[in-house]
Symmetry: C2
Subunit: 427 residues, 2 copies
Amino acid sequence: MQRTLIQELVKKENKEVLIKGRVVNVRNLGSVVFLIVQDYTGIIQCVLDKKTEVRIGDVVDILGVVKKDDRSKSGFEIQGKKVGITSALLEDLPLDLSKNELELNLTTLLNNRSLTLRHQKIQAIFKLYDILLKSYETVMREEGFTEIKTPKLLGAATEGGANFFQVEYFNKEATLAQSPQFYKQIMVGVFERVFEIGSVFRAEPHFTTRHVNEYISLDAEMGFIDSFEDISQMLNRVLRKIFLLMEKEAKPYLNLYQANLVEVPAEIPSFKLSEIKEIIAKKYGYVVPEGVDIDPKGERLAGQYAKEKLNSDFVFITHYPWSDRPFYSLPDPQNTKETLGFDLIFKGLEIATGGQRIHDYKQLMENMQKKGVKADGMEFYLDTFKFAMPPHGGWGMGSERIIQQILGLKSIKEAVLFPRDVKRLAP
Amino acid sequence: MQRTLIQELVKKENKEVLIKGRVVNVRNLGSVVFLIVQDYTGIIQCVLDKKTEVRIGDVVDILGVVKKDDRSKSGFEIQGKKVGITSALLEDLPLDLSKNELELNLTTLLNNRSLTLRHQKIQAIFKLYDILLKSYETVMREEGFTEIKTPKLLGAATEGGANFFQVEYFNKEATLAQSPQFYKQIMVGVFERVFEIGSVFRAEPHFTTRHVNEYISLDAEMGFIDSFEDISQMLNRVLRKIFLLMEKEAKPYLNLYQANLVEVPAEIPSFKLSEIKEIIAKKYGYVVPEGVDIDPKGERLAGQYAKEKLNSDFVFITHYPWSDRPFYSLPDPQNTKETLGFDLIFKGLEIATGGQRIHDYKQLMENMQKKGVKADGMEFYLDTFKFAMPPHGGWGMGSERIIQQILGLKSIKEAVLFPRDVKRLAP
């Protein structure tokens, strides 16, 4: 007999069907046994003989008749006739996956990832992630961006600093891409507007709730801009569209977290870094420590201010110091100690960094020299600017941080299927 | 004045507009100068004063009036009034990008990648690639697959052998993913159907027309299959849909290569490896050398046979030897020296590998032992099979090879924006 998918049961009232899936809950009422079964299209309750011996976690096929049942969510249940166990647990599950909340500490949650991912509430995180990816792909294409894929094995580090991983590449040394920066800029010279969804690798020794050492960056780069605000406005529009698109499908997953897709304002408020630091000092009595542009607490308070005063979950912070931004960042001609770029804060956490790039060859070479950056291995990138690049800029956005903030997850690691940190290379 | 996009000119007949873009050709007729200008939405011809001094490659803005012109492809041209050079070439282009054919050897083509990518015919490759990505994303979702992103930094190699890259990961050794194999299988236990578009890394020392050391794999994995043919049939359907979707948008790019999107048969012909070897020996007098399952020449001839005899550009080769397939491949119970999997050949080149996996824990452990594969670092993967995995399988498909074969490119490196090979880490 052919398999019927759970979402198709609505068309099969009073018909005999064969469903296949995983048992996600079992309730034994003495006289009957209720099995809750999940396949990739939905969840259904099956009523079975009291002698049925099936465990939560088993993979089964169930032959039965589809009956209307107003008490059930889907409006239907299956009067089961026969259960076959396609694949049985060899050991008892070490976790109770049928509970509403797993209530595990992060280490246990991640160590048992292939099981904890099966929990309904954790599945929801990655269903939402799937919808985010789809929405980004859709919206970027609507805005005229071409999807590109650029190499992750590089001859030279793109972002400077020491936070890159080294790879033995035949008889050479390679580094893992910290960003697609050089390549997406080169591609502005080709397609004018490009986007990439790709892995980036950061050898940061931080062990925090907002860092992982490998993540998926939602990148974009666009040409013929008049100012860096063209970039922040595009990011604003893209996020607004994405959140609207996500809303359509995400409801059941958000509900499990009592979360809402907040509205992205038509115009996200924006402050210069120096302004917002003054504001949070005055308003919340918090002074960002010397030596950093802004710290996580400062970002949280900036987010709090935007929410309290401007009713926005998003806020742009602009004009970061020249000394803290990479060599390709465009200095503000009004004040060359600052750069024409931004971070985007969502509910108090930085989710994106962007800005205008230097597109003039001589200015780029001078800026590198001032910063003491050597050209070694990036000649191909620098030479591109001899051949007429339009004014341009773009952003890199942490996909997992968006999910973390939407759902209010304590750690970003909960928003990564198999996260990597200083101590974790498995699962 | 605000910029008008080239695709919007059709609505602006006899109006004054400002367009921005790159000059892709210049023809000086003495009395007037014709500039061909490209932006991300199209290409337009501009007629300008004979004194206009602009070079191919310059980034310009042109103020002018939109005029009907039946001789031009778009039906319009711009009577230019004023040209501004937004960004000028600092050096003459080392290549003539206005020629129909670049006629460069592969090394020169790749060494000058940020310029050669600007050539119309090379742009077309990556426009087609963008359409392929979009189509894969769309079709996989239609078929109920959830998009996932899995780690590329691993504690253990997934495919065995020695062809993996090593990474210094803090104080440990990591390897770069040769495939998302372990993770996509685990995810079958969660979502039943998953797909991934991601980077894979192969430390193969080959220097050929069909290998690169980093590429984008189009992966899929699905549960509750009855046989490995469920996988090959799904791949068949997915490719058929993708080729139909691509056809709608790809025409202008295909035309530059005199290429067509061939029809993917409703049922791609399929041969056992042993059968097809006999056939090509008999028909073409070619005997595949001892010690390999099939070689590139064998694949070419298999493709030739499918085309000549069955009018198909695609052919499945199934039942590869147990000894040549990774430890997770399901042996054929009829003949355990063979596995229940396939390669897909497109126009004589392997573009995908797939098959059914072992889902039974004991069988997996026995198979590993027989193969002499050690469990080190993959316990998390193996343990998953103690907890009831459905029968499942999937494929990995080389995205760039599909493009190579559609366009008839001599080397796969032409289908990668910035390819990586044994000798190349830049650009």
